[in-house]
Symmetry: D2
């Protein structure tokens, strides 16, 4: 028997950075968490302990910091593409054949003082995070954008009824229920050289508004409707992948049946367990989308 | 030897509830986590396994739900005082001599649709939480209000210099540094029957504005200044306890000393380890503040 | 434009259960967390809100509980295959075409009393967990077993040197270093109807012993060696996927250079960020392994 | 109004260290997390931003590392007392009047190879942690030892019945129930200069054995019995504080009432919410125990 190394990768996750731009009296902040994974011809490192082709993880992490030091961090998609190009470039070793860069940006908002946003004081937002995932090879870079952890609640306009029943189904038809879900979305572009930041704001707004205005018949129905709305209002988007983690239960109360408060008290959870996923794609879009070629990104926007 | 039971308590933590008020087409939501701890004469339960004086934890939890079902959940301080009075009342067993109720409220904001806040769609805020702690005996109830997890950042107006040095001190004087801190505050009242909700908004605003406008010489200096501002602007507050968890490091870069970007790139942390506490009290306020007597709370406000 | 639903799934994660077997005075416990994901023809649920084909998540969860009630929970692989067969069976709705069941088992060990394992008292082990992943369609079931969160440390027999260097590499060659890693492994079978429990014990023992006895030249080198050892000692295993999360730093101390204690003090981390993956496959094994056919599993072993 | 600074403290939490002793071919490891909190005369730092009395948190943290570099880390109580004495000593500034040092040690066990514990390979135990808390002033040091996160389960020998009932009590009497609890204990000494390590092993063994052999009538009854056993078998212990977080529910199954498996299937939780506390003290022990005087600890044992 001779064992084969059929797959391998290495890298760094959770490289945290906070970049402060002080070019005017009004400071800007970018708070980004970066993960880098490298694949390539590292067979002899595994089979013989020969490390000559392997850049150490320390250098991978510090390359992220050096890039953040050299350049503004505006659109995480653009920052990620630069990083991927760096690791595919000669300096980091010719062994690398494929790079995946994952970025998550946490929002900081300006503290208001006397009704005006302060120039140099910020509050961290604990809510959703903006995402980007870059997967690059010598052929080019696939760019995916996203948002995670939108915590949403509808107290009207949601039903769940007419579902399949088996021997274990005890749930009753609910013509009027509360719908709570933690929603994330990821989208890919018709043309990967997009105005990422403007589009991000627009997609998030579309997700929120379609969630609010939709008459929901199920989580599946709602996710599809949200995806459909993103494709309708943002022609730049070719495909959107949605996921919802739900789970909120009406609190039955056997001891106070005399109190008339149906559908008012619920048990929320911080670890929702009902998971639903749907991918909605623009018709005519092939499964494989166009890649961003080297140097093609809109560097001007930085 | 005869062992003594010198202290005991029991209760429930993390009782979660979401109350939806549908009295008009504009719904209201309250998302509250409650903990209850009971102390009293439970000696025979411990020493002899005689449970006759002990209300089971299940009943403690369901009493919270029953109260939330019966009443509106507006100000968590008032809800907590009602709960404490319930457990001290005869129904829950005469053994209870002291009750502690801790409440934390997570904010939900309305989703904006077409520029207007939606009536029945909400987003969970992942940031700070409003707190209340009620400690009650037959004498009355001590009411404490608070806020936790304000994530704050100053990119200007902060220094740290002239500190003590010992053999292990390597930190350099910083006339201009970035100050990042996760701040919490708890306050007690000159008169415990206060307008809790209005005061909460005002105290949080004061904390944010004083953090923004203050020229910080240290975290201690900043905390004290924030506490002083709360006492100055809110005469209802007798004492405020502040805590800050800090820790953000400039990223030194030995490999790119030629790049001119001092004080721009930082390493944030999600688990800050520098802890600072300060309690600021209004002069003339005795250590023990006035208690809220039974039935004295402003029930009208519900 | 007409949007296409190109992918969808739904299910339940983190269904927790503790099964106690009391068939003799010596009790047995099984503590298992189950996730179920269903795929199938749910298009009209998404596009039209027609739920007739969709079994609610409540019923999915309660089917797990009903199965655990009816049968012993011995080998999680067998329990998972039964569950997958249930969901593919007619009762749960003919829409299901593919089921994924993920199981994680936490070990409980007997408390020793007077040198003997107690019959009915157990301690929860906080360490590694046993895993199984079943992916099933009408064609049959793919069975994967595993272990996660083996926390390992070598204080001798580990080096890291001769690696690639770029402009950002500051790490020095280390002929003698400490190697700390959180290791997980997943394996698939030459014949999926295996003695899962015996093999699990053997594979974990092989992983630990090969980690201990190996002269490590890098994490890659160590992972490959561990995978090679599993294939050598367990002919039932066709392929093993290994992952290591590492990261432990020697603590430099500029203030006490006179103290002679090199390589003694380290900074451990609970969130290691160096991630390395390697898959080692038995030669001659095709990428697609044999599936377990319906009813083929060794039911006798329960 | 003139605000008063009525309390203040600062320090570092979660200072992690792993100390490896290589004095023989059989290595030893100590994995300790340290927190330090200093109180003292820091008024002018708060009120005037005058930092001259304040040692920066960086120096506090690096003093922990320097101490770990200089000395063996054997008994965390002794290591903590040394640290407290250091911070109260002149070097760290005369402002310090009170120091609290909290230590938690995670166990690493040797990996077995060929039936023998390996000299230089270890597995991290994910279970309970050993604790020590030192509170010191110029008067001396109070030493508390402990253990946290013992995850325990009794499948026989536990009942809960005859408890108080109110309008919200739905729980039924259970003559035979499953008792699951996450237990922690902290103890203080008749004579603070004790053989900490030997006593720790003995106390943990007593806790486990008394939990196993006890016929439980309630969690209160069990905690008291465990505390009583510690006092009986360890005359060095003056007082033991116990806490249990419980919560495990039998899974009712309305859909399969015909299946005869009562009391077999349970819903475990990772976040138990029933909290019970009891402190058991040796008779005749005053509330305030003897302090360890400066230099009094058994240094020989290191």
């Amino acid at each position: 028997m001779s064992p084969l190394l059929s797959h391998n990768s290495y890298g760094q996750s959770d490289v945290r950075l906070l970049k402060i731009s002080r070019r005017s009296t009004r400071h800007e902040v970018a708070d980004v968490t970066v993960g880098v994974r490298l694949e390539g011809d590292y067979d002899r490192a595994h089979t013989a302990g020969d490390n000559r082709a392997v850049l150490p993880a320390q250098a991978v992490r510090d390359a992220v910091y050096a890039m953040a030091r050299r350049r503004a961090v505006r659109q995480i998609e653009e920052f990620g593409v630069r990083l991927a190009e760096h690791f595919l470039g000669g300096d980091a070793g010719s062994a690398v054949s494929r790079v995946r860069v994952e970025l998550a940006e946490r929002a900081w908002e300006r503290v208001g003082v006397g009704g005006r946003p302060h120039d140099t004081t910020f509050r961290g937002s604990g809510g959703h995070r903006r995402l980007a995932v870059i997967t690059a090879t010598g052929e080019g870079a696939d760019v995916e954008s996203g948002v995670e952890h939108l915590v949403l609640l509808k107290t009207a306009g949601a039903a769940y009824q007419g579902f399949a029943r088996d021997a274990y189904t005890t749930l009753r038809d609910a013509p009027d229920r509360v719908l709570a879900a933690v929603v994330s979305a990821r989208w890919r572009y018709v043309n990967p050289d997009a105005s990422y930041g403007l589009l991000y704001e627009k997609v998030v707004r579309t997700l929120l508004e379609s969630f609010a205005e939709h008459e929901s018949r199920s989580v599946q129905h709602t996710l599809y409707t949200m995806g459909e709305a993103v494709l309708e209002y943002s022609p730049e988007v070719a495909e959107v992948r949605l996921a919802a983690a739900g789970g909120i239960a009406p609190l039955a109360d056997p001891t106070t049946p005399d109190i008339d408060a149906p559908n008012e008290l619920f048990l929320p959870t911080d670890a929702p367990h009902d998971l639903t996923e749907a991918t909605v794609r623009r018709e005519g879009m092939a499964g494989e989308l166009r890649l961003l070629k080297r140097g093609e990104g809109r560097r001007g926007s930085e």
